[in-house]
C-alpha cells in the first residue's frame, strides 16, 4: 500500500506521541515493582529496627529503673529503721502466741508457738486486714511508699515469719503468717536469709509472697546481738507505675504493643505488663497463634538464651485488632535478666505495609494516569498533527497538482492554479510581487513553483513564438531559395538565349553589312533623282501664285452680295416688329373692348380686323425673311469656300517651296551618307567580333549558373531539413498550453 504524505506525517506524529509514553509506562511498570520490593525490604528492616529499638529502650529503661529503685530501697530502709527506732524498742515478750504459718513458696502450712513481738512494749498482734493499721510498716509506707514488713525469726533454722506487713496476698489481705523458709524445698538456702543470718543487709531482687520486688532486708538484733527478725522494705517491680505506664503507652505502629512476661520459675510465661485482652499474671505458656504455633514458648526459649542487651525476633500470625483479620506480627525479644523480664515489642507488619500499599497504589495511579495522559497526549498530538498535516499537505497537494499540470504541459491552467493556490489559504496574490502570508517552506516552495511556472510559461511562449518565426523564416528561406533556383535556371536559359541572340546578332550584322553596301549605291541614285524633282517643283510654284490672285477677286464680290442681304434683313425685321406691335395692340384693344361690354362690341370688331392685317403682314415678312436668310447663308458659304480655297492655294505654294528645300537637304545628306556607311561597316565588323566574345562569356556564365543552381538545390534541401526541425520543435512546444 502506498502511504500518502498526510498519513506518513500523521503516523510520525502518533509514533512521536506514543513512543515516549509507552517507554515511560514500561519504565514505570518496572520501576513500580522494584520500588515496591525495595520499599518492602526497607519497611521490613525499618520495622525490625524500630521494634528492636523499642525492645532495647524498654530494656534500658528497666536498667535505669532498677538502679534507681535500688537506691530508693536503700533510702527506704533507713527511713524504716528510723521509724522502727522511734516506735520504741522491739522486744520479744515472754508471752507466747500461736501463729498459723504458711510457706510462701510451697504453701505448706503449720502452726508455731512464738513469743509475742512488742514494739514500745506493745504487741504488734495478728493484724491481717488492710483496713486496720499496723504500726511502723504502714507509717513507713505512708512516708516513702513501697511495702514494709517486720519478720520474726521462727526457729533456729532461720525461717522468717511476717508478723507485721503491708504486703498483700492475692486475697488482698496483709500477708502476715507467711514465712520465708531459710532452705527452699529443693535444698538450696534462701539467698536473703543466708545474707541476713550473717548480720548483713540484703539488697536486691526477691520474690515476695507472689511477685518480685526490689527490696532490702536488714537484720533485727536483740540486746544481746542475737538475730530475732528482719526489717524489709521493697518496691514491687511490676508496680513501678511510671515504668509500667511508659511501657504500656508504647505503641508500635497502630496496634503494636510492648508486653513483658516472666521468664523463669513461677512467673514463667506470666504476664507482668499486659497486652490488651489479658490481665496481669495471665499465663501465656500454652498460647498458640492462628497457625497453631506455640509462639510464646518459642519466644521464651529464645529470650533465655540472650545475653545482656541482645535482641532476637519472632514472627507469628495473629488476629488484627478491630477486624480480627489474620495478620503477621513481628516481635522483638529482649531479656532483662535482673528482673527476669522478657520484653516483647510486637508490631503488625501490615500497618507498616500501609505505607508500601499507599506507595504502590500511588504508583499504580501514576501508571494509570500515565496511560490516560498518554491517550490524551496522543489524541492532542493527533489533532495537532491532523491540523498541521492539513497545513502542510494542502499546499503540497496543490503544488503536486500544479506540477502534474506542468508535466502535462498545461501551463495556462498551472499558472491559474498557482495564482488560485496563492489566493486560497495563504497565497492571495494575483501578481508575483505580492507577499505571501505564509512564509514557511511550503509557502516558499509555492512561491518558487509560481516563479518557475511563470518563467516556464514565458520561456515556452517565447520558444513557441521563436519556433513559429523559425518555421516561417525557414519557409521563406526555402521559398526564396526555390525562387532563386528558378531565377538561376531562368538565368541559365536567358544566358543561352543571349548566346543564341548574340549569334543571331553576329549573323544579322553580317547581313546588315551587305545591305549597307547596297544602301550606299542606292543613296547615289537617290541624289540624282532628287535633283530632277527640284526643277519640276519650281514650275509648279509659279502656277500656284496665279491661282491665288484669282481667288482673291472672287472673295471681294461675294462680300458685296453679303452686305446687300444684310440690308434687306434689317428692313424685314422692322416690318416684323411693326406687325407684332400691331398684333399686341389689337389684343389689348380686344380685351379692353370686352371689358367695356356692349359698348365695346364695335371696337372689338375693329380690333380683330387690325389683328388680321397684322397677321398677314407678319406672314409676308416671314416669307421675305426666309428668302433673305437663305441668300445670306449661301453667300456666307461661298465666301467661306473661297477663303478656304485661297488658303489651300497659299499653303500649297509654301509646301512646294518647303519640298524643294527638303529635296536640296536630302541631296546633301545622301551625298554625306557614303563615308558614314563605311564607318558603320567597320562598326559592324567589330560588333560581330564582340558578339562572339559575348557568346563565349555567356557560355562560361551559363556553367556558373548551373553550378549555382546545384548549390541552391542543396541549400534547398538543407532549408527543408531546417523547416522540418522547426516544425518538430513547434509540435513539441505546442504540447504546452501557455497563458496569454
Amino acid at each position: 500500500m502506498r502511504l500518502m504524505l498526510k498519513h506518513k506525517i500523521l503516523g510520525m506524529a502518533c509514533i512521536a506521541a506514543l513512543l515516549p509514553a509507552v517507554v515511560m509506562l514500561l519504565l514505570a511498570r518496572m520501576q513500580q515493582s522494584r520500588i515496591s520490593s525495595t520499599v518492602r525490604d526497607d519497611l521490613n528492616g525499618l520495622v525490625h529496627a524500630n521494634i528492636k529499638q523499642l525492645a532495647l529502650d524498654v530494656y534500658h529503661s528497666c536498667e535505669v529503673t532498677n538502679e534507681f529503685i535500688r537506691h530508693q530501697v536503700g533510702d527506704n530502709l533507713k527511713v524504716a529503721e528510723k521509724v522502727l527506732k522511734d516506735a520504741g524498742p522491739l522486744r520479744l515478750s515472754a508471752d507466747k502466741t500461736v501463729w498459723h504459718v504458711v510457706d510462701q513458696y510451697t504453701g505448706s502450712s503449720g502452726s508455731v508457738n512464738l513469743s509475742k513481738m512488742t514494739l514500745g512494749g506493745k504487741w504488734i498482734g495478728h493484724n491481717n486486714r488492710m483496713s486496720v493499721s499496723t504500726p511502723v510498716v504502714d507509717e513507713v509506707q505512708s512516708l516513702v511508699g513501697g511495702v514494709c514488713t517486720i519478720f520474726q525469726k521462727m526457729n533456729e533454722g532461720g525461717d522468717m515469719l511476717r508478723v507485721a506487713t503491708n504486703v498483700q496476698t492475692t486475697e488482698n489481705m496483709r500477708a502476715v503468717g507467711t514465712y520465708l523458709p531459710a532452705v527452699h524445698s529443693d535444698g538450696t538456702p534462701d539467698p536473703v536469709i543466708s545474707v541476713v543470718s550473717r548480720g548483713e543487709t540484703f539488697l536486691g531482687r526477691a520474690y515476695v509472697v507472689n511477685e518480685w520486688h526490689i527490696c532490702a532486708y536488714r537484720p533485727i538484733l536483740d540486746g544481746n546481738g542475737h538475730l530475732v527478725g528482719m526489717l524489709f522494705v521493697g518496691i514491687p517491680v511490676g508496680r513501678i507505675a511510671s515504668l509500667r505506664e511508659a511501657i504500656m503507652s508504647v505503641k508500635v505502629g497502630d496496634s503494636g504493643h510492648v508486653f513483658v512476661m516472666g521468664g523463669e520459675d513461677k512467673s514463667k510465661a506470666r504476664l507482668l505488663i499486659p497486652l490488651e485482652g489479658y490481665r496481669d499474671g495471665d499465663n501465656l505458656w500454652e498460647t498458640k497463634d492462628l497457625e497453631g504455633k506455640f509462639f510464646i514458648q518459642s519466644i521464651i526459649h529464645k529470650a533465655l538464651t540472650l545475653k545482656n542487651d541482645g535482641v532476637d525476633f519472632e514472627r507469628f500470625l495473629w488476629k488484627q485488632k478491630g477486624n480480627n483479620a489474620p495478620a503477621m506480627v513481628t516481635a522483638a525479644i529482649a531479656y532483662y535478666e535482673p528482673w527476669d523480664w522478657i520484653i516483647v515489642a510486637n508490631a503488625y507488619e501490615g500497618e507498616f505495609h500501609e505505607a508500601r500499599d499507599k506507595l504502590e497504589s500511588s504508583l499504580r495511579g501514576l501508571f494509570w494516569w500515565s496511560v490516560v495522559t498518554m491517550i490524551a497526549a496522543t489524541g492532542v498530538a493527533l489533532v495537532i498533527a491532523f491540523f498541521l498535516t492539513g497545513k502542510i499537505t494542502a499546499p503540497i497537494g496543490k503544488i503536486t497538482a500544479v506540477a502534474q499540470q506542468i508535466a502535462l504541459g498545461d501551463l495556462k491552467t498551472a499558472t491559474q492554479s498557482v495564482v488560485s493556490a496563492g489566493a486560497s489559504g495563504n497565497v492571495a496574490a494575483g501578481n508575483s510581487g505580492a507577499a505571501l502570508p505564509n512564509q514557511d517552506e511550503t509557502g516558499q516552495l509555492l512561491q518558487a513553483i509560481r516563479t518557475m511556472t511563470q518563467n516556464l510559461n514565458s520561456l515556452v511562449g517565447q520558444v513557441k513564438q521563436s519556433s513559429i518565426q523559425l518555421v516561417s523564416t525557414s519557409t521563406e528561406i526555402a521559398a526564396a531559395a526555390k525562387q532563386q533556383s528558378a531565377t538561376v535556371n531562368d538565368f541559365g536559359a536567358s544566358t543561352n538565349e543571349v548566346v543564341t541572340a548574340t549569334r543571331e546578332i553576329s549573323a544579322t550584322a553580317q547581313e546588315l553589312l551587305n545591305t549597307m553596301n547596297d544602301a550606299t549605291q542606292m543613296a547615289g541614285t537617290t541624289a540624282s533623282l532628287a535633283g530632277s524633282g527640284r526643277s519640276g517643283l519650281a514650275d509648279m510654284e509659279a502656277n500656284m501664285r496665279q491661282l491665288v490672285d484669282a481667288t482673291r477677286s472672287i472673295s471681294g464680290k461675294l462680300a458685296v452680295i453679303s452686305d446687300k442681304a444684310n440690308n434687306i434683313y434689317s428692313v424685314v425685321t422692322t416690318i416684323t416688329k411693326v406687325a407684332d406691335e400691331t398684333n399686341l395692340l389689337s389684343l389689348n384693344a380686344a380685351i379692353e373692348a370686352e371689358k367695356a361690354g356692349e359698348s365695346g362690341l364695335g371696337f372689338s370688331v375693329v380690333a380683330r380686323e387690325i389683328r388680321r392685317l397684322a397677321d398677314q403682314t407678319a406672314v409676308a415678312t416671314l416669307d421675305i425673311e426666309q428668302i433673305v436668310k437663305e441668300m445670306r447663308t449661301a453667300v456666307s458659304a461661298g465666301v467661306m469656300e473661297m477663303d478656304k480655297y485661297a488658303e489651300e492655294v497659299r499653303r500649297n505654294v509654301s509646301e512646294v517651296g518647303r519640298i524643294s528645300e527638303q529635296l536640296e537637304t536630302i541631296i546633301g545628306q545622301v551625298q554625306a551618307l557614303t563615308p558614314r556607311f563605311e564607318s558603320v561597316n567597320r562598326g559592324m565588323h567589330m560588333q560581330a567580333e564582340g558578339a562572339q566574345q559575348i557568346s563565349k562569356a555567356m557560355a562560361g556564365l551559363s556553367d556558373a549558373a548551373r553550378q549555382t543552381a546545384d548549390s541552391l538545390r542543396e541549400f534547398n534541401k538543407a532549408t527543408e531539413l531546417l523547416n522540418e526541425a522547426a516544425r518538430g520543435l513547434r509540435n513539441e512546444v505546442s504540447r504546452f498550453n501557455v497563458s496569454d
Binding site: D580, L587, A590, D615
Partner: protein, 154 residues
C-alpha cells in the same frame, strides 16, 4: 366670354380676359438672385413693381422662347386678406383671342393635385385648349411671399 389664347410648348391654353390688366411685350426684366427659376424677374409697370412668372418654366421646366410673340400678361391676383396684386405671366405665342360661351367648356374629368390651376377644356378646329384658373396659377409659397408685406401693413 372672351378668352386669351397662348401656348406653353406645343399645348394651347386659355385665360379669361376679365382677369387681364394688360398685355405687354416681353421686355428686359431685372433678375432676382436666388429666386426660384420660374420667377423670371421684376419690372416697373407704371410705377408699380410687378413680379413676372415664367409659365413655361413652371409647366415645362424650360424658359419661354425669346420671340416677339412671347409676351407678358398682367393679371390681378387676390390674396387671402382681400388684397390684390398685379402679377406678370410670361407665355409663348400670345397672339389670339377666342370668343366662347359657358356651354363650350368641357370638364377634363381628371384633377392633377400638383397642378390645381388647370381648368376646363375648350374644343376647336385645331384641338383642345385648356383653361387656366388664374387664382391657382401661383405656387403657395410665392403667394405667401407676395402678400406678406400687405399682411404686415394690415
Amino acid at each position: 366670354m372672351l378668352m386669351l389664347v397662348f401656348q406653353l410648348g406645343k399645348d394651347r391654353y386659355a385665360l379669361e380676359t376679365s382677369h387681364v390688366v394688360e398685355i405687354v411685350p416681353s421686355l428686359v426684366l431685372r433678375k432676382l438672385p436666388h429666386a426660384p427659376e420660374y420667377i423670371a424677374g421684376i419690372f416697373n409697370y407704371r410705377g408699380t413693381i410687378v413680379p413676372v412668372i415664367d409659365l413655361c418654366q413652371l409647366t415645362q421646366d424650360r424658359p419661354c422662347e425669346d420671340c416677339l410673340s412671347t409676351r407678358i400678361l398682367l393679371v390681378q391676383v387676390r390674396g387671402d386678406h382681400g388684397s390684390s396684386r398685379c402679377v406678370g405671366l410670361r407665355a409663348e405665342r400670345m397672339t389670339e383671342t377666342l370668343k366662347v360661351s359657358e356651354s363650350d367648356l368641357v370638364s377634363p374629368g381628371i384633377a392633377v393635385a400638383d397642378a390645381p390651376y388647370l381648368g376646363k377644356l375648350i374644343n376647336d378646329a385645331q384641338g383642345m385648349i385648356q383653361c387656366i384658373r388664374v387664382e391657382h396659377i401661383l405656387p403657395r409659397k410665392l403667394t405667401d411671399s407676395l402678400f406678406q408685406e400687405a399682411m404686415e401693413q394690415a
